[in-house]
């Protein structure tokens, strides 16, 4: 017991760093796989912040939400990879700048 052993700020800074990395990846990468991975990173960054916060205040909520995020991430990967397969089949590429049929 005893709550969080390392300073909260460090954890939050790490989470922010991870989140920013993920966000940059999402915005800059063109490959859909990498974009999905970046999304995972962002989700995990958020999850990390939750866990840290839960530990800090000794509440179970943080861990519950972590579990939720885990399952969401898993589901998202499942759907996302399915889409990736379809995209690969339809467009013969994973470059999302090439797949722009929705252009108005």
């Amino acid at each position: 017991m005893g709550g969080l052993q390392i300073p909260m700020e460090h954890v939050l800074a790490l989470a922010g760093l991870l989140f920013s990395c993920g966000l940059m990846g999402l915005m800059l990468r063109r490959n859909i796989i990498f974009m999905l991975m970046s999304l995972e990173v962002m989700l995990n960054a958020a999850a990390l912040a939750f866990v840290a916060a839960g530990a800090k205040w000794g509440q179970a909520d943080g861990q519950i939400i972590f579990l939720l995020i885990l399952s969401v991430a898993a589901a998202e990967v499942a759907v996302g990879l399915g889409l990736v397969l379809q995209i690969q089949r339809r467009f013969r590429t994973l470059d999302m700048d090439q797949a722009r049929r929705l252009r108005g």
């Binding site: 915005m27 800059l28 990468r29 974009m35 929705l102 252009r103 108005g104």
Partner: protein, 611 residues
Amino acid sequence: MAGIWLIPVLPLASALLLILSTGRMPRQLAALLGAGSVGLAALCVALLARDFLADGEVRQVTLWTWMAVGEFTPRIAFYIDGLTVVMMSVITGVGFLIHLYSIEFMWDDESICRYFAYMNLFVGAMLLLVMADNLLLLYLGWEGVGLCSYLLVGFWYRDPANGRAARKAFIVTRVGDTAMALGLLLLFTELGTLEIQPLLAAADSQWQVGDSLPILATALLLGGAVGKSAQLPLHTWLPDAMAGPTPVSALIHAATMVTAGVYLIARTFGLFLLAPPTQEAVAWIGLCTLLLAAFAALAQQDIKRILAYSTISQIGYMFLALGVGAFASGIFHLVTHAFFKALLFLAAGAIIHCLHHEHNIFRMGGLRTRLPVVFWSFLIGSAALAALPFTSGFYSKDAILLSAWELPGSGPWLWAGGLLGALLTGIYSFRLVFVVFFGPAHTEPDHQPGWKMAAPLVLLGALSLLGGLLVLPLTGIFPPRDHPDASHVIEYISIGTPLLGLLLAYLLFLGRQLPVDALVSSPSGRGLRDFWLAGWRVDQLYDALWVRPYDALAYWWRNEPVDRVYNGVVSISQWAHNRLSALQTGQLRWYATTMVFGLVLLVAIMLRNAA
């Protein structure tokens, strides 16, 4: 006579039957039905006239209330007095003769059924017009005869020129009719009724002589009369209306419909007496029209157009009579004119029929010996038209000129104008006789008119000769006029003028004593002739004033200018759509980036607000 309602119903029912047969009726039956129904109606009118002459009682028949909205309760009802009886006799009597004549004239036409349907419809509508006891029913007949005139002028529909003439006839008269409709609105709004006799009584009690309301109301009614009776400025349709079959011209455009305006003014004379300015306008319109049309008739070459212009001119005399207050003389001229003008048209129709549809008088000639019946009837008709002494036209026209002379103020001017018109009438009517029936023949007739054509000619010829002796049962209808003995000089002048016209026509066109060809071929003479031939170029004037501007307006508006506003809305939203859809690049990374920035912006705003 009980079944007065039968009189208009007979021709209407026959018209309905002919229409329902949709052209499949054998022509014998169609002719029998067409002429027979009018003959029966004429018989009924004769019985009615006999009764009326015996007792002189006004008869009123109400069939049903047309509509009742508040105080507006026009009825389908008839009012039969002396004037009505006179009109009914002319319509059914002359109408029957013309129907009889039509049987032979139209026998070879494939649409004889349709012809008689329209003709019967016309007779029915015309009867309704003169029998109506209220102005709305009169208006029904008024528009009904207008429709029949349209249908019959455009009877030979395959030639677009006929259709054009028919539309012109309808639309030009409709302009007048609209004025008349406004007159009815004004009369009802002010006097609260459209029944003619109560209306006249109400006007007499509510309005003073010279008030502005009666002047306005009569001016509007005059608009209708001018349109229907082809007077200035709405006369242009009548010469073109000659495109119809000739018996139609005889019935509608000479004997009956075109005189409806005269009837209307005579019927509502009480209003006109309250409006001296309008009444004077009637006289001047009549005078101007009769002169203008007489000059135009001098230059025409088409036999029917000459007669058309002479009709306009003679109705001008009737208007002159109404304008100077000689209502009975106007009606008398209406009756004699119906006889001799119908005669002239029927005779002209016989010529056209026997001469392979030739209309140009300069390609006729020498028909005196070749078509004797036609010649004599045409001669009688022309004599009556020119008002040679002791013909019917003489009595009626003389009475009009005398009344004009007696009018204080402008009377002598009107008289002098009328006299000039009489001179011109003498010239153009005998020009017609001399050119068509004398001199060398240019076209040989291929047959003689049969009895169905000859009999009406003979009968109408007798009426034209002797019609002057008729005494119309008009006493007590119009205000009595005292006839101070005009000086004999005036009498002699008005007897002598037509004879002078005859002499001039002889010298110009038969004796060749006067150099008519040189006159016409000189530059100014040619210009004048062309000007008159084109009817004083009024048609061109109206073309430029009304027809072409309306066409241009329609052409300008044809693609719906109002839609431009809505198309503007559409363009704006399309423009916005294009601008906004440019944001939809289809690039996933672009969406993600904008989302991130949007979120950052939102959070920033929220933090700012929270702080």
